[in-house]
Structure formats: structure tokens, C-alpha cells
């Protein structure tokens, strides 16, 4: 009995402390206190949708579009790689994009990676080989910050998984540059920060990255695809989805085999359960 009496007293005490010292002051503040300040930038943010028609790898049956991945790689190489690394990807991984072994070697050799001079031991550079990872555009974080108005360009290997709905996020970010609605901006006293760029799909609409894909035809695609800004954005978003999760398609395909086996095994398990229990339960009705 005493344990229950004690618990009732403790329970009432906890509730009293919570209600009198936290809930009531909070409720009072909510009702009569100043409204929480909202930053003007939130008035300009728009949630970005992905490219029209979605990506080829969306959904449980999705697969890579190899031509698109190769185009996306070209955009990364010619545009993004000036500032952004993909340090978790190696040249040998390019074989997954449909390149032949010889093409992978040639592609690796077209990049310059840090090396050691075998004669003197001095640090030097050399052409990449298939075992090398993609090189870093800056020697260190301080150099990266110094060259970019104090904002370090993030590594892009995992970007498609490091944001909610990452593939669509990358696409909408690249297509979200522009100017804020002048009327609204004047009303709210909103100005894009110094050295920053307006992007309606970036969470606080002020992004340090200059529009990387500024004009149609910035890249000349080998397969003749028209390099519009949305096209380049979708291609590089697809490529970065691959860098973030090279096993994505293999994973889904494996999943179907596993599911098929399990459904079969579970049906068998259910039938044996029913057979063993037959007669143990009264018939209904």
C-alpha cells in the first residue's frame, strides 16, 4: 500500500512541477508574449520538385540510364570539379557507367593526381590511374575557403544522400537561381547577402555558390543531347546519385529476389502452421 501511496504523491508532484513551472508560463507566453520572429528569407523559399518525369532510378523497379550518367559525369568533370571533390569515388568505379576498360584508363589518365617523384621523393603530380580516387580541387580546407569567399565547397560524393530527397534537391538547387520578387523584397526589406546569390530552393535562399550552370550549351555533349540548364542539372543530379550510392540498382534487384524467396517461404510456413493447428481451435459458427 505504501508504495502506491508514495507513487501517487510522486506522480502528482512531477505533474505539478511540469504544469506550474513549464506548461503555464509557456502557454502564457504563447498567448500574450511576442510572436516568434521569422526570417524574411523564409518568405522566398519554395520547395523544389525534381525534373519532369522523374529519374530513371526512381521507384522499386528503377534502373540507371547509362547515357545520362555519362553526361552527368561530363558536367561534373567540366564544371563542378573545379571546386567540388568526389573523394569516395575511384576512377575504376567509372566502369559501372558503361565505359570499357580502355576508356576507364584513358579517362583516369586525363586527370592529374598528386604523386611522388620516384627518383627524388619530392611531391609532384602525375596522370591518374584506375586505382586512384578522384583528386581534390584544393590542397586543403584553408585553401578551399580562401578561394571561395570563405565558404568551403562540400565534397559531393554523398550529397544525394546527405539532403532530404537528395537527387531532386540537387536538381532544384541547380535550377533555382534567379532574382527575388522585387515587390515582395521591397515590402519585407529583403536583400541577398553580400557575396551571396539568391536561390529559391536553398533553405535560407542565400547561397555562396555562384550559379554553376549559367547558360544553355555550357557543356557540349558527345551524344548530341541538347545541353539546356534543366538537362545538365538532371544529368549531374543523376551522376551524383550514382556517386552517393553505386549499389542502388543492384540493391533493388537483389531485393526482388529476396522478397520472392521470402514470400514463398512464408506461404509454406503459414500452411504448415495451419496444418499443425488443424483441429486445435473450434470451428467458428
Amino acid at each position: 500500500m505504501s508504495i502506491r501511496l508514495g507513487s501517487i504523491l510522486v506522480g502528482l508532484a512531477i505533474t505539478a512541477v511540469l504544469v506550474l513551472w513549464s506548461l503555464l508560463p509557456g502557454a502564457y507566453n504563447l498567448a500574450f508574449g511576442p510572436a516568434p520572429e521569422k526570417q524574411a528569407s523564409y518568405a522566398f523559399y519554395e520547395h523544389g520538385e525534381g525534373p519532369e518525369g522523374g529519374f530513371s532510378f526512381d521507384g522499386p523497379l528503377g534502373t540507371w540510364d547509362m547515357a545520362q550518367l555519362q553526361r552527368g559525369y561530363q558536367v561534373y568533370k567540366e564544371v563542378c570539379s573545379a571546386c567540388h571533390s568526389i573523394k569516395f569515388v575511384a576512377f575504376r568505379n567509372l566502369a559501372q557507367l558503361g565505359y570499357t576498360e580502355a576508356e576507364v584508363d584513358a579517362e583516369a589518365a586525363s586527370w592529374t593526381v598528386p604523386g611522388i617523384d620516384p627518383a627524388t621523393g619530392e611531391t609532384t603530380t602525375r596522370p591518374g590511374t584506375r586505382v586512384d580516387a578522384f583528386p581534390m580541387p584544393f590542397p586543403n580546407a584553408i585553401a578551399a575557403a580562401a578561394a571561395n569567399n570563405n565558404a568551403i565547397p562540400p565534397d559531393l560524393s554523398l550529397m544525394a544522400k546527405a539532403r532530404h530527397d537528395g537527387s531532386n534537391y540537387i536538381y532544384s538547387l541547380l535550377t533555382g537561381y534567379g532574382e527575388p520578387d522585387p515587390e515582395k523584397a521591397a515590402k519585407l526589406g529583403f536583400e541577398t547577402g553580400p557575396g551571396l546569390y539568391f536561390n529559391k530552393h536553398f533553405p535560407n535562399v542565400n547561397i555562396a555558390m555562384a550559379p554553376p550552370l549559367a547558360i544553355d550549351g555550357q557543356v557540349t555533349y558527345a551524344d548530341g543531347t541538347d545541353a539546356t540548364i534543366p538537362q545538365m542539372s538532371a544529368d549531374v543530379a543523376a551522376f551524383l546519385t550514382w556517386t552517393a550510392e553505386p549499389s542502388l540498382v543492384a540493391r533493388k534487384q537483389t531485393g526482388w529476389f529476396v522478397l520472392g524467396f521470402l514470400v514463398f517461404a512464408t506461404v509454406l510456413a503459414f500452411l504448415s502452421y495451419k496444418q499443425i493447428w488443424a483441429g486445435m481451435k473450434p470451428k467458428k459458427g
Binding site: G11, S22, L23, P154, L158, A244, L259, L262, T266, Y273
Partner: protein
């Protein structure tokens, strides 16, 4: 084991006879999960989750041991070795996704197992020890899961470690020293990562040990059942094998199908994208949230927003942070006295009209609100909702349960499990509160204690 009519293990061959004489391990298994364990014949699907939890523990240990072969607990390279597993290790992505989602599924299964225990009052005599050991397992699981989440050394790993170890700072006088001692530094770094890895590897085996005690304690009174009345005769039970092995086999199949859907098609749905950003002590994420299975307790922690002061003065008796920490730990620790708070002689919620109302319309909505608020940013209306739900949580266990179990008039219970299954007549008079009825633990109609061994 626990009943006179339990089947006895009979070794068939010369070899099994020899084994049985030297080390009767097959006999132990036979009595624990074989034909030698009589189980009530009326268990519903809520009784599947104990076996599933055991499966999850084995799954986590097996995938975890292989992951540990490829992982390096060093703050410089930990994030990179996880990516190495994802990209270069054969089927490494499958192992890691199975381990990460396996933790979530372990908690889903455990929460359903606890829910079963709460609704059917499985914690009551004579099964208090099973419940107490279960609470110990749950606490060990929470510690293990928290430390495991730190290992990938992403942003949420780092800041989660910062917040959780920061809770110890709330302890008066020695708090900061304890936090520094726990972390091996002033902030989470290599020392913390190394010890978390060591403990994350150790604790699952400690859990396995407590699970053995949990099952041992279970086999003394035997399993509970949905009517909450004790086994009276052989017709009330069936042997665990093949009756419940077949039912658990089906349950395992359904579990694995759901698990497969998550691992292969939505592997990151239960995680946080920020954990794919390498830990950076100089950049705080916008919202630091723990894994989803901690959300209800995180909501209780954050519900205390005001210091406990002496009214009309500024003298602080207990700071808000310490109140939150006490409440969060208290919300689980109070489960240790639960068997003595609920004194209703009837176990099953089916026969307890008042208890059932508070359970479905009070406790369950309260847990859902706590869950949602714990994952939401600390702003209105979530703060006020979490405060109301936290208050109800403590009132439910500490005030409502003791009073309800005293004043409630239970519905009439069936005479036996067999009668309940076959739908025969009910007993005329309901057991009176406070007296040992058919629903009271371990008592046979004659008043004799149930034979234990």
C-alpha cells in the same frame, strides 16, 4: 519443465544418450523451446515478438561482427571506412543497411513486446522477475543503440553524442567532471569514439546474457496468455514444438518480408540525411534529433522548459535541464516498480473495463504525441503538446494505475483457458478486488502455489 505433464526428453540413439549423460544440452533446448515446454494454447500474435526479438539480437550480432571486421574506430577515418564498407566490401551495403535497419526493427519488435506486457499485465506476479529483466534488457539496448549510432561519425553521430553526454552535465557539482570523464575529453573525439566502439561490441553479449536469464525466469511460471488466467490442466496447453515453432516461423516470415522492404527499397528512410555529412565540431545541424526510437523519451527530456524556482523569487531549486534528465530516466525506471503499482487481481486488459479505457484512450495517444513531439523541432505547438503528454505519462503509471486497480470491478473471467478457447460458460461471480482470484498469480483454485519445477 514447469508442469507435471511436460514431455520428457528421450534420447533415441546411443550417441544422443552419451551426449545426454555428459552434457544434457539437447535436453535443455528440448525443455526450453522444444516439445518439453507446455505453453497456453490460446496465445495470439502478440506473443510472437519475444522470439522475433531474439532473432533481431542474433541478426545484429552477426551483421555487427562482420561490419567490425571492416570498420576502424578512429575519428580521422571512421566515416571513410563506413563508405569503404558501402562501396568496396562485397555486399557491404547489404550488411550495413541490414544492421542499421535491424536496430530499428529490433526496437519496433521490443516496443510491441512491451506493449503486450502492459496491456495483458504480464508483469504481475508470478512474472515480476521476467518483467524486471526485460526492463534491464531495454536499458542496455538503448545504450547499445546510442553508441552504435555514434560510430559512423556523421554529423548526427557527433552532435547526438554531444547532447546525450551533455545530459550528465546537469548533475549538480560533479556533472561537468563526469561528462569529461565519460568522453575522455571536453567534446566527443577519438577517445569517445574508441570507447563507444568497444562498449557497442561488448553490450550485445551482455544483453544476450540477460536474455538467457529472462527466458530462464519465464520457464518457472510458464508463459502468460491473453485471458490472464493460469494454466490449470494439460488441456490448457500445447507443446511449444511444433505448435509455437510453426506459428513463430510464420511470424518470422512476415517480419522478414517487412524488413526486406526497408533494407532493399527504403534503406535510409528511418535514418537522418545529416549523418551522411562527416562529423564537424564547428557546424551545428539545424535540428539535432536522435533516432526515431528515442523520440518519446527525448520529448519528455525537452518538456521541462522552466527552472523550478521558489515562487516570486529568482532562486533556482532545480534547473530545467536537470528536471528533464530526471524525468527522462524516471520515465523508464518507474517500470521497475510497475508490478507493485498495479494491484488488480485480473491481468488481462480484456477483463478490465476501466483500465482498458485509460490504456487505449490515454496511454496510447499519449505515447503517439510524445513520439511526434520528440522528432519535431522545439517550437509550438509541439512544446505544449509534449508537456501535456509527459504529465499524462507520469499520471498514468504513478496515479491512475494504482487507483484504477483499486476501484475497478473486473468482468467475469472464464473458468479455464480450455473453456475460453472452446467458448464454454463463464464463471458467475467476478473476483473481488484485492483478493486472490483466478487471475492472481500462481494460485490454483485450492489456494496451493503452482508447482514451479
Amino acid at each position: 519443465m514447469s508442469f507435471a505433464w511436460a514431455k520428457q526428453y528421450e534420447p533415441k540413439s546411443a550417441f544422443t544418450r552419451w551426449i545426454d549423460e555428459k552434457l544434457p544440452l539437447p535436453r535443455l533446448v528440448y525443455n526450453a523451446v522444444g516439445a518439453g515446454y507446455p505453453v497456453p494454447r490460446n496465445l495470439n500474435y502478440m506473443w510472437n515478438f519475444g522470439v522475433l526479438a531474439g532473432f533481431c539480437l542474433v541478426l545484429q550480432i552477426v551483421t555487427g561482427v562482420v561490419l567490425a571486421m571492416h570498420y576502424a574506430a578512429n575519428a580521422e577515418v571512421a566515416f571513410g571506412t563506413v563508405e569503404h564498407i558501402m562501396r568496396n566490401v562485397n555486399y557491404g551495403w547489404m550488411l550495413r543497411y541490414a544492421h542499421a535497419n535491424g536496430a530499428s526493427f529490433f526496437f519496433i519488435v521490443i516496443y510491441l513486446h512491451i506493449f503486450r506486457g502492459l496491456f495483458y499485465s504480464s508483469y504481475k506476479a508470478p512474472r515480476e522477475m521476467i518483467w524486471l529483466l526485460g526492463v534491464v534488457i531495454f536499458l542496455l539496448m538503448m545504450a547499445t543503440a546510442f553508441m552504435g549510432y555514434v560510430l559512423p561519425w556523421g554529423q548526427m553521430s557527433f552532435w547526438g553524442a554531444q547532447v546525450i553526454t551533455g545530459l550528465f552535465e546537469a548533475i549538480p557539482l560533479v556533472g561537468t567532471a563526469i561528462k569529461t570523464w565519460l568522453l575522455g575529453g571536453f567534446a566527443p573525439d577519438n577517445a569517445a569514439l574508441n570507447r563507444f566502439f568497444s562498449l557497442h561490441f561488448l553490450l550485445p553479449f551482455v544483453i544476450a546474457g540477460v536474455v538467457i536469464l529472462h527466458i530462464w525466469a519465464l520457464h518457472i511460471p510458464g508463459s502468460s496468455n491473453p485471458t490472464g488466467i493460469e494454466v490449470k490442466s494439460e488441456s490448457d496447453t500445447v507443446p511449444f514444438h511444433p505448435y509455437y515453432t510453426s506459428k513463430d516461423g510464420f511470424g518470422l516470415g512476415v517480419f522478414l518480408i517487412l524488413f526486406t522492404v526497408m533494407v532493399f527499397f527504403l534503406p535510409n528512410a528511418l535514418g537522418h540525411p545529416d549523418n551522411y555529412i562527416e562529423a564537424n565540431p564547428l557546424s551545428t545541424p539545424a535540428h539535432i534529433v536522435p533516432e526515431w526510437y528515442f523520440w518519446p523519451f527525448y520529448a519528455i527530456l525537452r518538456a521541462f522548459t522552466g527552472d523550478l524556482t521558489i515562487p516570486f523569487t529568482t532562486i533556482v531549486l532545480i534547473p530545467a535541464k536537470l528536471l528533464g534528465v530526471i524525468a527522462m530516466f524516471g520515465s523508464i525506471l518507474l517500470w521497475f516498480i510497475l508490478p507493485w503499482l498495479d494491484k488488480s487481481p485480473v491481468r488481462s486488459g480484456h477483463y478490465r473495463p476501466l483500465f482498458r479505457k485509460f490504456f487505449w484512450f490515454g496511454f496510447i495517444p499519449c505515447m503517439i504525441v510524445l513520439f511526434i513531439c520528440g522528432g519535431a523541432p522545439a517550437e509550438e505547438p509541439y512544446v505544449i503538446l509534449s508537456q501535456i503528454a509527459t504529465a499524462y505519462y507520469f499520471l498514468h503509471f504513478l496515479v491512475i494505475l494504482p487507483i484504477v486497480s483499486q476501484i475497478e470491478v473486473p468482468k467475469p473471467l472464464p473458468f479455464s483457458i480450455t473453456d475460453a478457447v472452446l467458448g464454454k460458460g463463464k464463471v458467475a461471480s467476478p473476483p473481488r478486488a484485492g483478493t486472490a482470484g483466478d487471475g492472481d498469480g500462481g494460485m490454483l483454485p485450492g489456494g496451493a502455489l503452482q508447482p514451479a519445477e
